[in-house]
Symmetry: C2
Amino acid sequence: MGRPTIADIAQRVGVSKGAVSFALNGRPGVSEATRARILEVAREMNWRPHSAARALGGARAEAVGLVIARPASTLGVEPFFAQLLSGLQARLSEQQVAMHLLVVEDSAAEIEVYREWTSAHRVDGFILVDPKVRDPRFAALEELDVPAVVLGGPGGHGSLASVWADDREAMLSVVDYLAALGHRRIAHVAGLPGLRHTQRRMRALRDSVKRLGLVDAVSVPTDFSDAEGAAATRTLLSRGRRPTAIVYDSDVMALAGLGVAMEMGVRVPDELSVVAFDDSVLTRVTHPSITSLSRDTFALGGQVAELMLEVIADPAARRDVKTATPRLVVRRSTAPPALGKDTKAV
Amino acid sequence: MGRPTIADIAQRVGVSKGAVSFALNGRPGVSEATRARILEVAREMNWRPHSAARALGGARAEAVGLVIARPASTLGVEPFFAQLLSGLQARLSEQQVAMHLLVVEDSAAEIEVYREWTSAHRVDGFILVDPKVRDPRFAALEELDVPAVVLGGPGGHGSLASVWADDREAMLSVVDYLAALGHRRIAHVAGLPGLRHTQRRMRALRDSVKRLGLVDAVSVPTDFSDAEGAAATRTLLSRGRRPTAIVYDSDVMALAGLGVAMEMGVRVPDELSVVAFDDSVLTRVTHPSITSLSRDTFALGGQVAELMLEVIADPAARRDVKTATPRLVVRRSTAPPALGKDTKAV
DNA sequence: CTTCGGCACTAAACCGCTCTAGTTGCGGGA
DNA sequence: TCCCGCAACTAGAGCGGTTTAGTGCCGAAG
């Protein structure tokens, strides 16, 4: 005999399948004595529910989907994803909810997967990352009418629930700090220009020019890779009037930038201050350690998972959760700018 | 109306459910003309199979399970996992196979999940990581008689298929290289002592003592965290006769060790050579860059996925795949030892 | 002309579970 | 005593597919 089914249990106990179903699901309809017998026998026979059978009846799949449209080879580079995943897992597994994970080529493929998993009842909802400037996924998910949580915002993602951090405020806090140290030439090695949060950060920097009397404030978009981060740094440091501070959109790029600076003989933090827009072991263990905007990515994952579970439980309860704005953790990579020919102390 | 079912299609075309099923699955039993009509209508109605319904009938789940028993918070730290995941994904998504991912507390919970997902037909097979010295999971999976691939080996994992790298050979190549440079005091900051591959590496180092005439060769187990890696380094460097070379079982720990060395004023590579037993961006971008054993984790994931698909297709085809032994990539963190009071050049 | 084989297709069972409608038996109120 | 209501339970439909056992029809062989 294969795995035992409720019919087997029913036969053994001498009741109907229905009674067994009631008993196993803690539903009224059976006496306490019968329920106890049934549970006893079920345990004895090592019975386990068949999720497919349940799902057929319209029950939950007890899984959420995470589809990522990035080249799979770059996934491993960013500590961010793994940490987010960990955080998601930590919260989801409390409720015995699994994650269905898939890496695809592009948004079109991603949407197709949403369609399939939804109609196949494979998952109860989706977590959407990397919101882009004109993002077709929001409309697709709304049309499918499936629970979803967007990581990123605020706004622009239609009626979907979201968890977001204030990227603007975060960028401002970095720029304010650097300006207070005396920096007037601040560069920004940004991430993918198509991403919303990249745009927000770039705008925040631009908006600071007048307010803080910056002399130069340029954002250089990259693909988040260490290679492009290094290249951008090399370009910036080769200019006639080079920046006295660089803000990097990820810790890996900051580390790469640090390497380039050393290689070019630019001393950090004396001649160049470096700030990473993301924190992880990397920023802590390097020398000099890197001043970073620290957000608890693990906790972020937990919040996303929490909201996901809420939305699944009650699809009407869509809401936006603002996470704590990342705090600036000052380490050894930032200092007042050297008094050079084109840098004035305030 | 909800999602269209084959019954809807059948009605619309004017045939039976069976005919539709045959047509949609490319099975004989319908004429080409009818098949074309059915496919046409199915496309028109935007029909998609309901995986739960299929699973009930005993079909594939088109998903493989990966259950990881580690504290979720440490998952993000290691680039290894994310890269492995990427590699797995890259290969699996070619076949439209998804991954079911879950992070649990311990092996017991892991086994329970294997039981559940197996009897629920949630996945077609499992990928098992971190094989331990006495590992109850092998027996459990064999008993469940479900396709599985173990990442690690060789041997000791019963009849399960496996993908493994030769950790012993890899360690020997590192030690040989260091000995050739003139090092005689070599320390090893190892990973979790319960893991098979940790044991293998430790044994390989021990076995080299006589062969290479080493004066000292100690392995210090850790939990893979940067904190313990740093602590172990601190201890090692504080000893009277300190090692002239340290091999780290992960890149993160190597980086942490590098930091400790700098902080203690021990120059790398002049006074201390550092080797990482795992390669990633980290080892490339730091200064000095770290000599590492490089294995292509992304490709490794691909191999595991490949074998998994094979075993699912034909459970009898269990086999062991040996991956390329990691190559030593020499960078700036290794050099001949300084001629100190207790170090002799050869 | 009959018979057989095979093609195209139908009807219905089946997978494991949930859930609704219905049945039985029993105690209590009028 | 009769009827009602309720608790405890059963029977069976239904979820969306797959699959098997037919059924009717046509052409070819005997």
